[in-house]
């Protein structure tokens, strides 16, 4: 049995200090992890379980030991101290549905509803009795030619959290969680496999996707025939795309060309240029409004030596982001100061 680790990393912005706490995840190696939006001590993982010479990916909800919850400021400096183990809350169902690729929490909910994607099924779970029990509320499955398999999914924060987007092969689909029926489908959204999705946190119909064709595409889910915008900056598969939580013109992408790229998608953001300028600062506003909004790459981060598989923004500080690569390197970066002031002022 492979024992995986979960590293809880504390980053002290003021002193620039990083603290690491290791949690044991005894069930098996982790392929996907997502934290509950309501309870910072609760997280869900998808992990590999090897049984009878077969690998099955299961999903479970866990609770961290209280003293290690992020923010619970305690630092067991000595690495030798016995690693804490996660406390299992519940399994997300029997593995009958197949390998779970992804677990997504309801973004604005109370941490009671979870979606898991298992093979070609999309399963909506209700967590009951303080998450110790997962009840399958509803499900839907994708039927079609061949072996369809969901690769990833995102829960939209808009529309009262009734929409989920999933990716399988080259297609992106939207689902309504109330009826568990498909709302839209972007067939061949990418030339090759779609690797990741993210919803614009401020514009309810905007969705970003990335995939093996090295592209990042931005979609308006009301018109799915054409992408609104396409970025082609990476030279290999793009594994992750993330909107900044508060300034949605900032888009972060990570790719197996081992680069992380921060882009400024002004033209399709909810903050058109000069919108946030103070009214009394008219002259400056005029000056700025003359510049047309220009999408651009802000920075390319090349600190990683191998493929970057995950990128994400800090939920606390909108100017902070982290990326993780194959060789186990986690890099925390900040948005360039000049740009930050440019956006803020």
């Amino acid at each position: 049995m492979v024992i995986a680790h979960i590293h809880v990393i504390d980053f002290d912005d003021e002193n620039n200090i990083i603290n690491k706490n290791v949690l044991l995840h005894q069930a098996g190696e982790i392929w996907h992890i997502s934290a509950s939006p309501a309870d910072k001590g609760v997280l869900a993982t998808c992990y590999n379980k090897t049984a009878d010479g077969k690998v099955v990916t299961c999903a479970a909800v866990w609770r961290m030991p209280a003293e290690l919850e992020p923010g619970g400021h305690e630092s067991p400096e000595d690495a030798a101290s016995p690693a804490h183990a996660l406390e299992l809350l519940c399994h997300l169902g029997p593995a009958a549905h197949g390998s779970t690729a992804c677990v997504a929490w309801e973004p604005a909910g109370d941490g009671k509803r979870v979606i898991s994607l298992a093979d070609n099924h999309i399963l909506l779970w209700d967590l009951q009795e303080s998450s110790s029990q997962a009840v399958l509320a509803s499900s839907a499955s994708l039927e079609g030619k061949g072996q369809l398999k969901f690769t990833t999914g995102r829960w939209s924060p808009h529309h009262n959290c009734t929409q989920v987007a999933t990716a399988n092969d080259t297609a992106v689909r939207g689902w309504d969680t109330r009826t568990m029926s498909q709302i839209y489908c972007i067939e061949s959204a990418h030339g090759q496999l779609v690797r990741d999705l993210d919803f614009n946190p401020n514009k309810q119909y905007y969705l970003a996707s990335c995939g093996d064709d090295c592209r990042v595409k931005f979609w308006d889910t009301r018109n799915v025939t054409e992408p609104v915008k396409t970025l082609e900056e990476h030279s290999h598969w793009v594994w992750g795309v993330r909107y900044n939580h508060s300034h949605d013109q900032l888009v972060l992408t990570g790719s197996s060309d081992s680069r992380v790229i921060l882009s400024n998608m002004v033209s399709i953001s909810s903050e058109p240029f000069g919108h946030l300028v103070d009214d009394d600062d008219l002259s400056e506003q005029e000056e700025r409004s003359q510049e047309p909004p220009q999408d651009s790459v802000i920075a390319t981060y090349e600190e990683h030596e191998d493929s970057v598989y995950a990128v994400d923004w800090s939920s606390a500080d909108p100017w902070l982001f982290a990326s993780l690569s194959y060789d186990g390197r986690l890099v925390i970066n900040r948005v360039p100061r000049a740009l930050k002031y440019h956006i803020l002022l």
Partner: protein, 781 residues
């Protein structure tokens, strides 16, 4: 007289010294000549005589006029010795004798002439005397005649006067008779239809009648005449309105009416109305030809008919109008111009409709000839009616048609190019007969290139007709300047090259990125085509164009370099897309093979997996395909026998570090691993990077993409011990065969090492296979 002169000569001689006569001889002869000349009125004797000598004032010159014998003798005696004196004396004596004999001969020879001259003169004297007598008689006779003549005229004087008076009376009576007869004559003329005659009579009588209208008899005549004239005018108008007869008759009618003093204003209105009716008839017949149901006559015939019918008619009307109503001044001219403008515009509308029907046609020469004729015919009325702007409008139409033609040619070229591409696609898609290759890529490329070039040349040639010297509109500024530079060069040739690049680029954008839509070979072929265009064809075509259409326009044109850059960019994108596509095909194969296999439960490897062989085969096929069109390219120099590279990489010491379980929190392994990877990636590999135009670069690109995919796929799986070993075997096999295709074989090694290392990391039980065993398996195939 001559005799006298001859006699006088010897007469003067004896008075001189003994040498004198001899020395005088030529002088005398000259003198005799002088006398003769004097006699015959040639007065320049002295004038001619003097300048003849070498020095006329030299007194020692024997032949000079101022010869002085004393001086001469003195000089001789003083200067010469005796012997010379003797010599000169004998010489002189001999000369004198010779001269004497000469003179005698001359006298003898001329003697007869002197005699006959004397005779003639004598006879003349006689004749003159007779003539004088006759003249006297003539004078007397003349006097008599004059006298008689005076007498006769005196007698006839008063009779002559009477006759003159009578003749005057007679003429007056004739005029009166004409006046009295005028009404009946007019009536008769009107009855006979000799309107011209009638009008002439009336015109002749009008002034007289006007003058004498106070006399009752004349008044009656005038009244009668007016009645008849009114009738005449009536009839003329009638005839004019009926308008059955042609334009000349009408013009005549109008002329007569004008002579009758009808109001010109009204007449010119009517005249134009008639002209309009007739021309409208022409237009209607032209329109009928346009009609949808009968097959329209060819455009040349149409413009011919329009030219002779309508334009000819218009010319006649205009010419007649200008002749008849010249007195009308600018107002009349304006009326005519408006008339011509209106009808002309209708005619142009018809012509344009007809030309629009020609749009589909391909025969440029016919069209150009038709346009030429159309344009040429309109020059006459254009010159006649400059104000109506007919010629300008015609030129405009011709220009428009030429422009449309250019557009059509562009479309034609584009569709021809697309047709070529379709052919290529079919040729590529055609099932290969076993053992027999279809037409090779190189051949297909040559076909496409030559047929495209052929089409371009054909288009140029046919467009060139518009600027031919004999075509009437070719010297218009549009055809000399804008048509050549903006039309032919920019919109046709440059436009086509651009659209060709665009078409080619569209293949890169095709939605079917999964590879189904565009055959990769087509991409390769197009890329080579664009590259060829960049290197040679574009400049060739443009030079050809510039030569054929001597571009005089100064407007800016697209430089060759810009086009070349565009073509090159297109070629690069196509080739890059080709690499992506082919890389994708191989990646998909590798990916499926990794994803679908159960790596945990696999058995100990005995063979290289079939898919790896397939990968090598496909790569070889691609190598051959690319080799048909692109040059080899540069390879990094390496040891020649790289295939024998052993598995030292995998079995080296660092392997221990790599295969160690990574989940132990202890640090040393991790750092070891990191440093190794850092070393490995000292040079970052850009997987989907732009390629260069050579085979090695293309193959390198494809292999990079494929191996990177393999790497990523392997990282997503969990391997059993034998799974890892299988990966080891596969990678060794790939290494054995792929190195030869790439520019830098180190790249293949790096990527394959990375694959094996990743597989080892993904293996809970990493026991690598012995390198020797791996080699054996691979060599077994």
């Amino acid at each position: 007289m001559a005799a006298a002169a001859a006699g006088r000569g010897p007469g003067c001689g004896p008075g001189d010294s003994p040498e004198g006569p001899e020395a005088e001889a030529p002088e005398r002869r000259r003198k005799a000549h002088g006398m003769l000349k004097l006699y015959y009125g040639l007065s320049e004797v002295e004038a001619a005589g003097r300048p003849a000598g070498p020095d006329p004032l030299d007194p020692t010159d024997l032949n000079g006029a101022h010869f002085d014998p004393e001086v001469y003798l003195d000089k001789l005696r003083r200067e010469c010795p005796l012997a010379q004196l003797m010599d000169s004396e004998t010489d002189m004596v001999r000369q004198i004798r010779a001269l004497d004999s000469d003179m005698q001969t001359l006298v003898y020879e001329n003697y007869n002439k002197f005699i006959s001259a004397t005779d003639t003169i004598r006879k003349m004297k006689n004749d003159f005397r007779k003539m004088e007598d006759e003249m006297d008689r003539l004078a007397t006779n003349m006097a008599v005649i004059t006298d008689f003549s005076a007498r006769i005229s005196a007698t006839l004087q008063d009779r002559h006067e009477r006759i003159t008076k009578l003749a005057g009376v007679h003429a007056l009576l004739r005029k009166l008779q004409f006046l009295f007869e005028l009404p009946s004559r007019l009536t008769k003329c009107v009855e006979l239809g000799a309107y011209g005659q009638a009008v002439r009579y009336q015109g002749r009588a009008r002034a007289v009648l006007q003058q004498y209208q106070h006399l009752p008899s004349f008044r009656a005549i005038q009244d009668d005449c007016q009645v008849i004239t009114a009738r005449l005018a009536q009839q003329l108008r009638q005839r004019f309105r009926e308008g059955g007869s042609g334009a000349p008759e009408q013009a005549e009618c109008v002329e007569l009416l004008l002579a009758l003093g009808e109001p010109a204003e009204e007449l010119c209105e009517e005249f134009l109305a008639h002209g309009r009716a007739r021309l409208e008839e022409e237009l209607r017949s032209l329109e009928a030809e346009l009609g949808p149901s009968p097959p329209a006559p060819d455009v040349l015939e149409f413009t011919d008919r329009g030219g002779s019918g309508f334009v000819g008619g218009l010319c006649q009307v205009a010419a007649a109008y200008q002749e008849l109503f010249a007195a009308q001044g600018p107002a009349g001219a304006e009326k005519l111009a408006a008339f011509a403008r209106e009808l002309g515009s209708r005619y142009f509308a018809l012509v344009e409709r007809r030309l629009a029907q020609e749009q589909g046609g391909s025969d440029n020469s016919l069209l150009v000839r038709a346009l030429d004729r159309f344009h040429r015919r309109l020059r006459a009325p254009g010159a006649l009616l400059a104000a109506a702007g007919l010629a300008e409008a015609a030129t405009e139409i011709v220009e428009r048609v030429a422009r449309e033609r250019l557009g059509q040619h562009l479309q034609g070229l584009q569709s021809a190019f697309l047709g070529c591409l379709t052919d290529v696609r079919q040729a590529l898609a055609a099932p290969r007969v076993a053992g027999k290759e279809g037409p090779g890529l190189a051949e297909l490329l040559a076909n496409v290139a030559s047929s495209t070039l052929g089409h371009i040349k054909a288009s140029l040639a046919s467009v060139h007709l518009f600027t031919a010297k004999e075509v009437s509109f070719s010297n218009k500024p549009y055809f000399r300047g804008e048509f050549c530079s903006q039309g032919v060069r920019e919109s046709l040739i440059v436009g086509f090259i651009r659209s060709m690049c665009q078409t080619a680029q569209n293949f890169c954008e095709s939605p079917g990125e999964k590879g189904g839509a565009t055959p990769p070979a087509l991409l390769l072929l197009l890329s080579r085509l664009c590259l060829d265009y960049e290197t040679a064809t574009i400049s060739y075509i443009l030079t050809l164009t510039d030569e054929q259409f001597l571009v005089q326009d100064q407007s800016p044109v697209t430089p060759v370099s810009t086009l070349c850059a565009e073509a090159r960019e297109t070629a690069r994108r196509l080739l890059t897309h080709y690499v992506k596509l082919q890389g994708l095909v191989i990646s998909q194969m590798l990916r499926k093979s990794v994803e679908t296999r159960d790596w945990l439960g696999t058995l100990e490897p005995r063979n290289v997996r079939a898919v790896m062989k397939r990968v090598v085969e496909d790569t070889t096929a691609i190598d051959v395909q690319v080799g048909l069109l692109y040059e080899e390219g540069v390879r990094k120099a390496q040891s020649s026998d790289s295939s024998k590279r052993t598995f030292s990489v995998y079995s080296s010491s660092r392997q221990q570090g790599r295969y160690a379980p990574s989940y132990t929190p202890s640090a040393p392994m991790d750092t070891n691993l990191l440093s190794n990877i850092q070393k490995l990636f000292s040079e970052r590999i850009d997987v989907f990077s732009p390629v260069e135009f050579n085979k090695v670069s293309v193959l390198t690109g494809i292999i990079k993409i494929s191996l990177k995919t393999l790497l990523e796929c392997v990282r997503l799986r969990t391997f059993g011990r034998f799974g890892l070993q299988q990966v080891q075997v596969d990678c060794h096999f790939l290494q054995l065969y792929l190195w030869r295709f790439v520019a830098d074989e180190e790249l293949v090694h790096l990527l394959l090492d990375e694959v094996v290392a990743s597989a080892a990391l993904r293996c809970p039980d990493p026991v690598p296979m012995e390198p020797s065993v791996v080699e054996v398996i691979c060599e077994r195939g």
